[in-house]
C-alpha cells in the first residue's frame, strides 16, 4: 500500500497540482490582505482614531440603523441582532473581536474560505484523481497489475486525504506569512470569546468563555479540514462515476454554489438541512453565528456530513471494484 501511495503522490507532484493551488491561494490572500488594509485605513480616516472600541461602537450603530428600517427579511434582522449583541458583548468586556495582526487575518480568511474556496481547491485534486486515469487511458495499465482494485482506489483516496491536509495547512501558512507583511506577525494570544449560543434570534451568553486565538484557529482548521474531506470525497465519487473531469467538477461546483445561495434562503425549508452543502459553515458554530436553519447544531451538521461522506465512499468503492473498464 505504501508503494501505491507513493505512486499517487509522485503523479500528483509531477502534475504540479499542489503548486498551482498554492499560487491561487497566494494570489487570493494578497488580494484580501490589500482589501483589508484599505478598509482599515478608510475606517481610521473616517473615525479619526485607531481605537478599536470606537470602530466596534460605530459598527454597532451602523447595524442598529439598518435594523431600524422596516423593510427587512426576518432572518436577516435576526442575524443582525445577533451580531449586535455579540459585538456589544465584546465591547462591554473590553475585548477586541478582531485584534489586528496576521493571526486574526488567518482566522478570518479560513472562516470565510471554509464553505466555498477551500472546497473548490480540494476539488481541483479530487475531481481528476480517478477520471484523469480513465480519460488518459492509463487506468488500463493500472488495473492489469496483480493488485486488487480496492487497494488501488484506497491508495488514491489516501492521497486525496494527504493533499487535503497539505492544502489546508498551506492556506493557513500562506495567509499568515503574506498578511503578516502588512498586519504584523502577532495576535496568537489575543483573547477570543466562544460559547455563544443562538436560539430564536437571542444570544445566550451563559456558556461563553475566553480562549486564545491560536486555540480557536486550530479548532477552525480541524473543522475546515473535515469540510474539505467531505467535499473532496464527494468529488472523488464523481470522479469514479464520471469519466470526464470537467463534468464532475461542474456538478460539484453547482452543488457548492447552490449551497452558498441556499444558506441565505432556506430558513423556512427545514428538510434542506439534510443537504451537505447547507452544513459547510461549521466554523460559524464556534464563533456563534446563527445557523441557516433553526435547530441545526454543530453535532447535527457533523453527523449529516459524516453520512454523506460515508455514502460517497461506499459508492466509490463498490462502483470502482465492479465496473467494466472500456
Amino acid at each position: 500500500m505504501s508503494n501505491l501511495i507513493q505512486n499517487e503522490m509522485m503523479k500528483l507532484l509531477a502534475k504540479k497540482r499542489l503548486l498551482i493551488i498554492g499560487v491561487i491561494v497566494a494570489v487570493l490572500i494578497i488580494l484580501f490582505t490589500y482589501a483589508q488594509y484599505k478598509q482599515a485605513e478608510e475606517q481610521r480616516e473616517k473615525l479619526g482614531t485607531d481605537d478599536w472600541r470606537t470602530a466596534v461602537q460605530q459598527q454597532i450603530i451602523d447595524i442598529q440603523n439598518r435594523l431600524s428600517s422596516s423593510r427587512m427579511l426576518d432572518e436577516w434582522r435576526e442575524q443582525l441582532q445577533v451580531t449586535v449583541k455579540q459585538q456589544q458583548y465584546y465591547l462591554d468586556h473590553n475585548i477586541n473581536p478582531s485584534e489586528p495582526g496576521a493571526a486574526t487575518f488567518t482566522r478570518m480568511f479560513i472562516e470565510n474560505a471554509s464553505s466555498l474556496f477551500i472546497p473548490l481547491l480540494v476539488m481541483i485534486v479530487a475531481s481528476d484523481l480517478v477520471s484523469s486515469e480513465s480519460s488518459q487511458g492509463t487506468i488500463k495499465l493500472l488495473l492489469t497489475r496483480p493488485v486488487l482494485r480496492w487497494k488501488i482506489l484506497m491508495s488514491k483516496y489516501i492521497t486525496l486525504l494527504l493533499s487535503i491536509s497539505i492544502i489546508v495547512a498551506m492556506t493557513g501558512v500562506l495567509a499568515y506569512a503574506l498578511s503578516g507583511v502588512v498586519f504584523g506577525y502577532h495576535g496568537w494570544n489575543a483573547p477570543i470569546i466562544t460559547g455563544f449560543t443562538v436560539e430564536a434570534g437571542n444570544v445566550d451568553t451563559s456558556g461563553v468563555r475566553l480562549i486564545s486565538q491560536w486555540q480557536l484557529l486550530l479548532m477552525d482548521f480541524g473543522l475546515v479540514w473535515y469540510i474539505a474531506v467531505v467535499v473532496g470525497t464527494l468529488a472523488f465519487m464523481l470522479s469514479v462515476l464520471i469519466r470526464s473531469t470537467p463534468a464532475g467538477m461542474g456538478i460539484m461546483l453547482a452543488a457548492l454554489i447552490s449551497g452558498a445561495i441556499l444558506n441565505n434562503m432556506v430558513s423556512s425549508w427545514e428538510s434542506a438541512k439534510y443537504f451537505f452543502m447547507v452544513n459547510l459553515q461549521l466554523t460559524n458554530y464556534l464563533s456563534g453565528v446563527a445557523p441557516p436553519i433553526e435547530g441545526m447544531t454543530l453535532l447535527s451538521s457533523v453527523l449529516i456530513l459524516f453520512v454523506w461522506w460515508l455514502a460517497a465512499l461506499i459508492v466509490s468503492f463498490i462502483v470502482f471494484i465492479r465496473k467494466d473498464v472500456y
Binding site: 501511495i5 475566553l210 480541524g222
Partner: protein
C-alpha cells in the same frame, strides 16, 4: 532525488493530517464540554486624546443620523465642515445617532460603557431627541389627545433629565447643544393645536437644559415655520439637505474651542 521529495511530502502531509484530525476532535469536544468560565472584564483604559484634537460626539435619532439628506451628511456633517473651516483644523466626529430612537432608548444608550467613554473625551456634544417620542411616526397627529400628549411629555422629560445628568457625570466641561423640535405637520395643522404642543414641548426641554451648565437649547421651530415644504424631504417628516443646512448654520457659530482660544 525526486523519490525523496515524494517521500518527504508524503510523510509530512500524513503528520499534518493527524494534526487536523486532532484539531477536529478537539473542536467538537471543546464545543460540547468546554467549561463555561465566563469572561472577566478587562478594565477599559480611557481613550487617549491628543491635546490638539477637537472631538464632537453626536447622539440621538434620525436627525443626527441625517435621514433625508441626499448628500448623507446630515446636520452633524455640515456642522463638522463648518467647524473645520472655522478652526482651520481637522475635527473628529463620533456619530452615534440611530434612526427611530426615543428618549428612553437614548437614556439606555448613554449608560453603555463604551458610549460613556466616548462622551468623556468629547469637546462638544450634539443631541437630537424627542421627535419620535412626540410624533410617534405621525400617530400623534391622527388622534390628538391632550392627556396622552402630556403623559408622553412627562416621560420624555424624565428621560431627558436622566440623559443629561449621565452626560454631565461623565463629562463636566463639554458644551452640549440640543436641537429643539420643529413641526413637520404645520401645513396640516389648521387650528394650530399641534403647534402649541410642539412649542410647549420645546419650552419644557429648554427648562430641563437650563438646569445644567454649558447646555444650550437650539431652536429649530422658526426655521421651518414659514416654508416647511421647502426644507422637508419627500417623506414630509425629515429635513432635506437644505433643512439640515439651516440647522447646522445655526449651531456651528455657537461652538467654541476653548483650548485653542487659550493659545
Amino acid at each position: 532525488m525526486s523519490r525523496w521529495r515524494v517521500r518527504i511530502v508524503t510523510v509530512f502531509s500524513a503528520l499534518l493530517g493527524l494534526l487536523w484530525i486532532g484539531c477536529l476532535s478537539w473542536a467538537i469536544v471543546d464545543y460540547y464540554h468546554g467549561e463555561a468560565s465566563g469572561v472577566e472584564d478587562l478594565s477599559a483604559q480611557p481613550i487617549e486624546k491628543r491635546p490638539d484634537e477637537f472631538i464632537v460626539v453626536a447622539l440621538g435619532d434620525s436627525l443626527t443620523r441625517g435621514t433625508g439628506d441626499e448628500t448623507g451628511k446630515g446636520y452633524v456633517g455640515t456642522v463638522t465642515e463648518e467647524l473645520e473651516k472655522k478652526f482651520d483644523h481637522p475635527i473628529t466626529v463620533q456619530n452615534l445617532g440611530i434612526k427611530g430612537l426615543v428618549s428612553a432608548q437614548l437614556a439606555e444608550q448613554v449608560q453603555e460603557r463604551e458610549v460613556k467613554r466616548q462622551l468623556q473625551r468629547a469637546d462638544a456634544i450634539l443631541v437630537t431627541i424627542g421627535g419620535n417620542d412626540l410624533f410617534q411616526k405621525g400617530e400623534t397627529l391622527l388622534n390628538l389627545d391632550s392627556t396622552k400628549v402630556s403623559k408622553l411629555q412627562k416621560n420624555y422629560l424624565v428621560h431627558l433629565d436622566a440623559i443629561l445628568s449621565t452626560i454631565r457625570q461623565n463629562n463636566s466641561s463639554a458644551q452640549l447643544f440640543m436641537l429643539g423640535l420643529y413641526n413637520p405637520f404645520i401645513e396640516l395643522d389648521e387650528n394650530g393645536e399641534l403647534n402649541a404642543i410642539v412649542r410647549q414641548w420645546n419650552n419644557e426641554t429648554a427648562e430641563v437644559l437650563a438646569k445644567y451648565e454649558d447646555m444650550v437649547f437650539v431652536p429649530t421651530f422658526d426655521l421651518f415655520q414659514l416654508s416647511v415644504n421647502e426644507y422637508l424631504y419627500s417623506d414630509k417628516f425629515h429635513p432635506n439637505s437644505a433643512g439640515y443646512r439651516l440647522m447646522a448654520e445655526r449651531i456651528a457659530p455657537l461652538i467654541e474651542w476653548e483650548a485653542k482660544d487659550d493659545e
